[in-house]
């Protein structure tokens, strides 16, 4: 369609390095990592990711210089079978470069953060060898994500899609032999398996969509698919888009496949930030935006997508209110925010969705990484406090701390539990302020980035989909509420555990990337301000998406959402801030809300429901099939008795005795005996005497001459 001629101008030829820079980084670490120090390994990985970012910037710059015309950089002929032509080509347009910049930019910051974080984590878990493996996986993830966003066809996108799924699996189960607290357990690997299997369900949907696409359009290439889509019955498009939605639900953690994401917090915190908040989980949003031309053809599918997103947004936000783990809250918040994005792209507000994707990448990465900093701070405090214990052995104090924390002394201390925190504002001031910025951005307070992007989504919803608007507004209320709850619980009040009291601020290598992200969270809204002449991101994406609605600021919508957010924060102050939670005290919401809060605490029993409805019956069916049908019926009875028995009988009587022994064997033996006796006779001719050989030659000569004479 618009395969531009400008491949030769600009830096487009660099596109393959998006993928190969991190690949080179990971190869260096695989091959030489054993001899490198931790810092060197981290530096190599960060530089590799940074190189990818530089390439992204150059590509975006070249694209802007070329007035946004999409460029396809052919790279490799992959599969050519009959009509099927699959090539690995890099598609550089405004949409993909936006994703590239976010992935590599945030990715690089998280790489740097991870150098500091993993060092402490590694020391904590006594396994320095995994440091290298971690960065190899991180680089692999960047490479795969780049394949995903830069692919020129649905199939290349799928390659990246599966690749990031693999990296996600590897990194969730990174501490595969221990749980989040370092105790030996298979909890982490189970979480990884859950993520992988759940994603398989989604990938299945994506694959069906891809097959349908090839069946209907005969191609996977984006432009060819979009061009052909107009000529196809809408029913086919509906099927494609809805199956694609299953894939999106799997990858972007939407109802009903979101259950893996909270468990994915078992991975190291940088992974939670990079993969399970900022980049990979937004792949579904990217997929829908990329397929905008398909979705805009079928409003029914759009509506389904929008409702899925909105319901997920609200549902996950309510669960987040009842969580105690600092990362779990953020995980459900991520699901909720992904619901916002999916709802936005479902409504056709692709720019708003992408805008929220970008800002969310900034502030959610910030929040996760800050949460990691908090956890590290608490670990340090715990370490410190334990030392103090061992030195002094004050019995009374230890008993008191037991009562305070509500935990047994021998029980492992959970540094991620917000009930163990409190008052960290004083001990970790830098982290506190960074966390504040992230919270305000997420809650949608002017002028933080989250406000502008969320407001754009709400504005769009208020115009076209009132139901979605209401759902999202309630979700926004809950968002502000649970973030307020988190802030009060973590940073205000009195320390509820010795570890919190002794918590220490993190080192600059951890806080500096956070500051960059905080600045981005603060200023990220400037990408697409809702004022005339400020829709930069809108204009930028317009090159790819063609029709972009740009709304001016609607004071009514913006005002309502701000007020809702402020009210939610005020409410959280009333409940958690005014009277800080005491150690061992239950959540103050528990009493007034009763069973509702129990539901929130237990994630509305969705996991249990899945177990009861799907997994346990499935297991029972599997056992039945394996034991009764396969083993007893099929193997024991059918195979052993019927087939093997008949076969044995037949072969023994019919074939073995008569055909084989008396027929074939006899013949073969006779052949061997005959050959032996014949050769024994002939052997005597070989006397070894040269003269007799010569005599036989002469005999031959005489006979031949005789023949010549007679002839």
């Amino acid at each position: 369609m618009h395969l531009s001629e400008s491949v030769t101008t600009g830096y487009f030829f660099l596109a393959p390095w998006l993928v190969f820079a991190p690949v080179i980084g990971l190869l260096i670490n695989i091959i030489f990592g054993g001899r490198l120090s931790e810092k060197a390994i981290g530096t190599v990985a960060s530089l590799a990711s940074g190189a990818s970012f530089v390439v992204s910037v150059l590509l975006a710059w070249s694209l802007a210089a070329g007035h946004g015309a999409a460029v396809t950089v052919p790279f490799l002929e992959w599969i050519h079978i009959g009509d099927l032509e699959l090539d690995w080509a890099f598609r550089v347009d405004s949409l993909s470069t936006t994703m590239m910049l976010v992935v590599s930019g945030v990715g690089t910051l998280i790489h740097i953060y991870a150098i500091g974080y993993m060092h402490e984590d590694v020391r904590f878990k006594h396994d320095p060898g995994r440091f290298r493996r971690f960065f190899v996986f991180l680089n692999l993830f960047i490479a795969m994500m780049m394949i995903l966003v830069s692919g020129d066809s649905y199939l290349m996108l799928f390659v990246g899609w599966e690749g990031v799924g693999l990296c996600s699996f590897l990194l969730i189960g990174f501490w595969y032999d221990m749980d989040t607290l370092g105790r030996p357990s298979w909890a982490n690997s189970n979480a990884a398996k859950k993520a992988f299997v759940t994603n398989r369900v989604g990938d299945f949907g994506f694959l069906i969509a891809a097959f349908l696409m090839f069946w209907a359009f005969g191609s996977f290439q984006f432009d060819e698919v979009f061009e052909a889509a107009h000529a196809v019955a809408p029913g086919v498009i509906v099927a494609i888009t809805l199956f694609m939605l299953i894939g999106v639900a799997g990858k972007s953690a939407q109802i009903p496949l979101y259950v893996w994401l909270p468990d994915a917090m078992a991975g190291p915190t940088p992974v939670s930030a990079l993969i399970h908040a900022a980049t990979m989980v937004t792949a579904g949003v990217y997929l829908i935006t990329r397929s905008a031309e398909l979705y805009t053809l079928v409003p029914q599918a759009q509506y389904t997508v929008a409702m899925t997103g909105a319901i997920t947004a609200l549902f996950a936000a309510t669960i987040a209110v009842g969580q105690y783990d600092i990362k779990k809250v953020l995980a459900y918040s991520t699901i909720s925010q992904l619901g916002f994005m999916v709802a936005a792209v479902g409504m056709g507000a692709f720019v708003a969705g992408m805008f929220h994707l970008v800002t969310h990448a900034f502030f959610k990465a910030l929040l996760f990484l800050s949460a990691g900093s908090v956890i590290l701070g608490l670990e340090r405090g715990h370490h410190h406090a334990e030392h103090a214990h061992h030195e002094k052995k004050p019995i009374g104090k230890s008993g008191k701390s037991k009562a305070e924390s509500g935990h047994d002394e021998h029980e492992v201390f959970d540094p991620g539990d917000m009930r163990n925190m409190g008052g960290l504002r004083k001990t970790m001031p830098v982290t506190f302020w960074l966390y504040m910025i992230g919270t305000l951005a997420l809650a949608g307070i002017v002028p933080f980035a989250g406000f502008w992007s969320k407001d754009e989504i709400l504005l769009d919803a208020s115009r076209h989909y009132p139901a979605v608007y209401i759902l999202l507004s309630i979700a926004a209320f809950f968002t502000a509420f649970y973030m307020g709850r988190q802030i009060w619980l973590v940073f205000f009040g009195e320390p509820r555990h010795e570890a919190a009291a002794h918590a220490e601020e993190s080192k600059p290598i951890i806080t500096v990337p956070l500051m960059v992200l905080a600045a981005l969270s603060l200023l990220g809204g400037a990408l697409n301000l809702p004022f005339e002449g400020f829709h930069q991101l809108g204009h930028w994406l317009e090159y790819t998406l063609h029709e972009v609605e740009a709304f001016p600021l609607n004071l009514q919508v913006a005002g309502v959402s701000t007020l809702v957010a402020l009210f939610a924060i005020f409410l959280s102050w009333l409940i958690y801030g005014r009277n800080p939670l005491k150690a061992g005290q239950p959540d103050p919401l528990k009493k007034p809300l009763g069973f509702i809060f129990t539901g929130m605490e237990n994630k509305w029993f969705v996991d249990e429901g899945y177990f009861a409805v799907i997994i346990n019956p499935f297991k029972k069916l599997s056992y039945f099939l394996a034991d009764v049908v396969d083993w007893r019926f099929w193997h024991d009875w059918f195979h052993e008795t019927v087939i093997a028995g008949t076969y044995n009988w037949l072969s023994n009587i019919g074939l073995n005795l008569y055909a084989d022994q008396k027929g074939i064997d006899a013949f073969a033996n006779w052949l061997g005996t005959a050959t032996q006796s014949l050769s024994a006779t002939l052997r005597k001719v070989q006397t070894g005497f040269v003269r007799s050989y010569a005599l036989s030659v002469l005999l031959g000569v005489v006979l031949i001459l005789g023949y010549l004479i007679v002839k």
Binding site: L682, V685, Q686, T687, F689, V690, A694, L698
Partner: protein, 100 residues
């Protein structure tokens, strides 16, 4: 004035004597000499034909045969000497270790 057929008959007789030498004698050296005799018989026939046809090609051919015979004798005698070193005999009937 001798017809060429006389030479042919003489050549055939000499050749047959050479063949008989190879077959009857056990002494490797004499067998070798008999082979030389056969070569000579053949040479004689070739030269006779060459003389009838008034061409020198036959003589050139005989010249080559003499040269090759010289090479053959050198190698053959060296082999006989080696065999004698190993078996202390040049009786060809003793060299029958390749029998079946």
């Amino acid at each position: 004035m001798i017809p060429v057929e006389y030479y042919i008959v003489l050549s055939a007789i000499l050749f047959a004597i050479g063949v008989a030498g190879v077959l009857i004698r056990r002494n490797a050296l004499i067998i070798f000499m008999s082979i030389e005799l056969m070569l000579n018989a053949a040479n004689l026939a070739v030269v006779a034909f060459s003389s009838v046809l008034k061409t020198f090609s036959g003589q050139v051919f005989v010249f080559f045969v003499i040269a090759v015979a010289a090479a053959e004798v050198a190698v053959g005698l060296a082999l006989i000497v080696e065999i004698f070193k190993a078996k202390h005999s040049i009786d060809v009937d003793q060299m029958s270790s390749l029998k079946g």
